[in-house]
Subunit: 247 residues, 2 copies
Amino acid sequence: MTGSLVVVGTGPGKPELMTPATQAALAAATDLVGYGPYLDRVPMLRADQCRHASDNRVELDRARHALALAASGRRVAVVSGGDPGVFAMAAAIFEAVEAGDPAWRTLDIRVEPGVTAMLAAAAEVGAPLGGDFCAISLSDNLKDWTTIERRLKAAAEADFVIALYNPASKARPHQLGEAFTLLRSIKAGETPVLFVRAAGSADSEVVATTLANADTSVADMRTLVIVGASTTRQIGRWIYTPRGAKS
Amino acid sequence: MTGSLVVVGTGPGKPELMTPATQAALAAATDLVGYGPYLDRVPMLRADQCRHASDNRVELDRARHALALAASGRRVAVVSGGDPGVFAMAAAIFEAVEAGDPAWRTLDIRVEPGVTAMLAAAAEVGAPLGGDFCAISLSDNLKDWTTIERRLKAAAEADFVIALYNPASKARPHQLGEAFTLLRSIKAGETPVLFVRAAGSADSEVVATTLANADTSVADMRTLVIVGASTTRQIGRWIYTPRGAKS
């Protein structure tokens, strides 16, 4: 028996936002490996399927465990939320491959794309990502805060729409405020700002405000923050960014 | 009868990458409006469903047509490829609402998220979007080339992974070359570059190269280009960007 490893994303939460390709990959797996709350989104698909739930912030341990299972002959699905390639498990798997057992390099590994949080958040409010945009994780567990500040500054000065992942956690309550202080020094106060909590799930909540008025304390680890470009605007109950503007 | 309008994305091409929510929205529609090749991805769902196919590059005409149909009481689905909020029809719909009949502002409009091309392209090669990244459309139909150059420069200097949508067309054969000349002046020659044509479809093709060696003539309108960050690397047959790097 030859093992395999597929990295999937459940999408943002609602079952109807999980792709059929991901559903099929989950149904074919003998072992599911992931952060507990993401595994909980997967219905029981086979009586003989093992679930290996782990805490958050142990991505590399989880990746090594999944690779070892696949190397032993199991058909493993590594389960992320959203899209597995965006601030999620796919990169952690390849980090573990690079640093691990050379035999892992010949494993049958593939990645299934999914609907990432910023797309679900954008769809709930209109089309705020309608122009050029960037995605930045505010977590400094794995990179320096100075790198994050440099990217925020560049994105604001070049007038990208900015999607912020991992905006706040109990261990990092103040960084989103620092990020907004930086953004306010560059962008107009009336710039639309969206806090979308649990985007694309049954209990999603939207706070639409402006850069000047934004209260960053509403954000937690389940919040996706979108900061508009200079052209982002409100029309009726929708927020959108025009596709472009010729000068 | 009250009309409605839903903007959906078919995903990158394979039917199994279209979300169940989008399938349901398509099945409920009386009218499908979209660019012909995207409509062709939708199987016949109801005998009484009208299809309104149009050429590319007439997005605003198409948006107005869809809104007028919804205002007349039809249940309209506007069909994009990928995710409708990323360089696609959702923003065009809201542009048309803003400039059009005031009654359109009270229409029942919603957007369903989908799998956008860069996620499908990334999944085919590993996890190149594993760090902070940005998405830029190279089309200057709707924005100035100077704006595009400013964003390319900012993204390269701040070391984002860069996804380029609409990299080339018959009307714009030279812009991708100009963009690469700019990127080569900032980024290292060994930076990984990916040309993924028809990502997430049955006939996808990947060219993995470097910034120094990239031949931009391989790109056309169906190609998604990913230019790595300084940390993006190859391991085995995969390209990935580590989630971060502490200095």
